[in-house]
């Protein structure tokens, strides 16, 4: 069985010292090992951004795609090879900005993807511009007078869209995050984990202490994750209020079939395991007869 070490490689991350990506990196390796997966059984699809280089720094099957296209590529891969666990790792700019439309539609499909958003509320790799989750008034190179846009609430959006697993975590809480990834891997359908993550270089106002003083675990307050309206109320605590950030599983249900469970062609086996032609040659030749 693969250990945490088996998911590592010799490449040193290029993240800044103190970056929240390190915490996510460790939590992922830990969760994969704890779930009993081998590196060739997980396809990690990432987008573009600092944290999307995650799969370059791991021993795992990886697809490092285009900015914002993570979920679309992952969807195609999953439908062709539903036998693999597909884990998406990308930032808030990738997942909620450039990839916003894919996010909307991937959620409502309930396709079997684990979607981890490294939500640091800023663009890091392009050196500090405001993101879809940035707070109003945030001054950056592209918002020199302070951002005017209201921040996106991805968690509320996901719940509204019929998501079946909606969670939030904090990059520094290795225990909680790896545990959530383990549960997301077991989930039937799409699982969102919105990870609160500091960017030590470009979003200094939201530093470790800022997050630490705000995050709390919903289970500690008796939250029932099967209650959609209660989950929605939790989702509206942040963004919106600034003082409390709920983490843990906000909403979860296991009675909704996943997308791939409902696609005829892959009921018996994944497309990748099927021969090029699944029917007798006469059946292919018969296609012409429809036009005669």
């Amino acid at each position: 069985m693969a250990t945490v070490k088996d998911f590592g490689n010799s490449i040193r991350p290029t993240w800044c010292p103190g970056c929240g990506d390190y915490g996510i990196w460790n939590a992922l390796k830990r969760a994969f090992a704890a779930s009993g997966y081998e590196p060739d059984e997980i396809m990690m699809v990432t987008g573009i951004g600092c944290g999307s280089k995650m799969n370059d720094y791991m021993h795992i099957s990886g697809l490092h795609t285009l900015h914002g296209r993570t979920l679309a590529v992952a969807t195609g891969f999953k439908l062709a090879n539903p036998g693999m666990k597909v884990v998406c790792v990308h930032g808030d700019g990738d997942g909620y900005g450039e990839g916003g439309n894919h996010f909307l539609h991937t959620v409502r499909r309930n396709i079997g993807l684990v979607d981890i958003i490294e939500n640091n509320h800023v663009y890091g790799l392009t050196r500090g511009q405001y993101s879809p989750t940035s707070r109003p008034g945030f001054r950056t190179r592209t918002s020199p007078s302070g951002a005017i846009d209201a921040p996106m609430n991805p968690v509320a959006l996901a719940i509204a869209e019929g998501a079946t697993f909606v969670a939030r975590s904090f990059a520094l809480d290795l225990e909680q995050l790896s545990g959530l990834v383990v549960q997301a891997l077991e989930h039937r359908g799409y699982a969102l984990i919105d990870v609160m993550q500091p960017c030590v270089s470009f979003n200094r106002a939201m530093d470790y202490d800022w997050y630490r003083s705000r995050v709390y675990k919903v289970e500690d307050e008796g939250h029932d994750p099967s209650d959609r309206l209660a989950a929605m109320a939790k989702a509206f605590e942040y963004p919106g209020g600034e003082n409390r950030i709920p983490t843990g599983i906000l909403y979860r249900r296991e009675d909704v079939p996943s997308y791939e469970e409902q696609v005829t062609a892959i009921q018996r086996e994944p497309l990748v395991d099927q021969p090029l032609h699944v029917r007798q040659s006469d059946d292919y030749q018969a296609l012409v007869q429809a036009f005669v």
Partner: protein
């Protein structure tokens, strides 16, 4: 010369069933032993507006519809106003007796106006909608065509709705034909007496391509509806469950192309397609496929741009886009089939080329090819003739037999790295990245690797060039006028060529199918000694002519049509003389 060559035109309002009636009539004529070509002309609207469908039937192969009409089936009075002037002297008009004739619309018309109780008979048998059946039956009677072929197509189309529907249509057809026979007899001579002919398929190039894709083992398709590409997606979706395909109507074209890249990376044959702006949205995704070296087949059905342009009209305005779209420098194939059977075969060929070279193959169509139905011998679409080549696709066993690690992006002499899809054991663990990467897939910015990858792509491109065939010649080896064409121009240009030759001139045609990489040596050899080159295209700038000039210094006259309407032989001949 053809013994019989009859053109029908069915005109009516959008929603009156002009297109479905036309397509059914074309199929019936083919079953009766005639070569047919049928093309719709419609507006971007679902109800209202004038639509018409033109069908030409002949005992000789036909390549394009013409301009003159022998039988006009006018489903409304506007059809009279618009099309009477196109009728030849010995011709007929089928008209419901209650349709008003606009004042002066028939002035000077010397043919037969068959005013028939179409609507009344249809209503008497239970449904006014059967007026279409009656109109087609009347047309059949006027040209001496056996009604049973029309009833047979109706039975195939409506059989699912039960025999009552079929029987009612049969009665309408028979009653109308009887009245038409009593009042007018057979008007067009010689008519369309049933002929013995090997079975013919009647289909447009979109469906030919889509059928070819199913036969080629396409496993995954994703797309977003857009005219005129949609019928490819619809055909694949309609056959997905029965033929083991996953077909996804995605949220947009960007999702579609990226889904296809993901599926192809997983190791299955995958395709997408679009038109105009939908293709624009896909362009970034093309470059992802190039970076991670996955096979990709994209069907591009052109329509006039820019922006929404003329959404239901035709143009060949996107050749340059097909060849040059995307950032960065990487090789691709661009193929432009010109007949239904070529479109059918090009699907399999595209998958083979895409997998052999782990690159993009664009198959170019245009609205005219996408929507025009033609009859072709069914035997041309022979599944057993297909060849399946998956290129350097490795199995888990292949890779586990290697002594060292498996390097997905190994630098090879032929520019293609053997491919093992992920999920195939411990050695299949690698990264595929849109960033520049080394042989093991990991990201690098090393200048030596940068050069090595660029040179790998060049070696690949050089081998791809050898796959390309030169233009195909039709007509005499030597001629005063050499037409150059690509895509759907083929039909009208070939007919124009035959007209020129029949009238004592001398013309031939070189049809370009393999457009990119441009096989310059083969093109040069083909065109060597040509006296006058005339490039015929449906665009405003002459994109093939430009390509030949830019790549080879060959200068051709440009005979261009760019009003959104298809080329015709007459248009070409007239503009050639001018």
């Amino acid at each position: 010369m053809a013994a019989v060559d009859i053109t029908f035109r069915i005109g009516g309002e959008a929603g009156q069933g002009v297109e479905s009636g036309g397509a059914g009539f074309a199929k019936a004529l083919a079953r009766g032993g005639y070569h047919v070509v049928g093309t719709p002309d419609y507006y971007e609207r679902i109800r209202g507006g004038h639509n018409f469908f033109t069908i030409r039937a002949s005992d000789e192969p036909v390549y394009a519809v013409g301009e003159s009409v022998d039988v006009l089936i006018a489903m409304d009075s506007e059809s009279l106003a618009r099309h009477v002037s196109k009728l030849v002297p010995q011709s007929a008009i089928v008209l419901d007796e209650e349709t008003s004739v606009p004042e002066g619309a028939l002035d000077g018309y010397g043919g037969v106006v068959a005013r028939l109780p179409l609507l009344k008979i249809a209503t008497d048998h239970g449904a006014p909608v059967m007026v279409n059946t009656g109109a087609l039956a009347a047309a059949a009677q006027l040209v001496g065509f056996d009604l049973e072929f029309i009833i047979g197509v109706i039975a195939d189309n409506f059989g699912r709705k039960g025999s009552e529907v079929v029987d009612a249509n049969r009665k309408v057809a028979q009653d109308v034909a009887r009245v038409a026979q009593q009042r007018y007899g057979q008007v067009i001579e010689p008519g369309l007496a049933a002929r013995e002919q090997p079975a013919q398929a009647v289909l447009d190039c979109n469906r030919a391509f889509a059928m070819g894709a199913v036969m080629a083992g396409c496993k995954f398709a994703a797309g977003y509806p857009m005219t005129p590409w949609s019928s490819v997606l619809e055909y694949l979706a309609g056959h997905a469950d029965a033929y083991g395909m996953v077909v996804k109507h995605a949220e947009d074209e960007i999702a579609a192309i990226n889904m296809v890249v993901g599926a192809s990376h997983a190791g299955v044959r995958a395709l997408t397609g679009s038109s105009g702006g939908g293709f624009d949205l896909m362009v970034e995704g093309l470059s992802l496929a190039a970076s991670i070296e996955v096979p990709l087949v994209v069907y591009l059905a052109q329509r006039p741009g820019p922006a929404t342009g003329l959404s239901t009209r035709t143009a060949q305005g996107d050749l340059m886009m097909a060849i040059y779209s995307s950032h960065g420098e990487w090789p691709r194939f661009v193929l432009a089939p010109h007949t239904a059977e070529e479109f059918w075969a090009s699907a399999g060929r595209a998958f083979n080329l895409a997998e052999r070279y782990q690159t993009l193959v664009i198959v170019l169509a245009d609205d005219y090819a996408s929507t025009t139905v033609v009859s072709r011998p069914a035997a041309l679409f022979d599944y057993d003739s297909l060849v399946f080549d998956r290129g350097k696709l490795l199995t888990r066993e292949d890779v586990e037999a290697l002594e060292g690690p498996y390097l997905r992006f190994r630098v090879t002499d032929d520019g293609v790295s053997p491919r093992l899809p992920p999920g195939n054991g411990p050695k299949s663990v690698y990264l595929a990245s849109s960033n520049l990467h080394d042989e093991d897939g990991h990201i690098t910015e090393d200048p030596d690797v940068t050069v090595r990858v660029a040179e790998l792509r060049k070696r690949k491109a050089a081998r791809m060039l050898a796959e390309m065939e030169g233009p195909r010649r039709f007509g005499p080896e030597s001629a005063d006028v050499t037409f150059l064409a690509w895509g759907s121009s083929y039909g009208p240009v070939r007919e124009a060529m035959e007209r020129v030759n029949a009238q004592g001139g001398s013309a031939n045609l070189f049809q370009f199918v393999d457009l990119w990489p441009l096989p310059v040596d083969k093109v040069r050899a083909a065109l060597d000694g040509a006296r006058r080159l005339v490039c015929v295209e449906t665009n405003a700038s002459g994109q093939l002519a430009h390509l030949l000039q830019a790549e080879m210094g060959i200068v051709a006259e440009r005979l261009l049509r760019y009003d959104g309407r298809p080329l015709t032989a007459r248009f070409i001949v007239e503009h050639l003389e001018a």
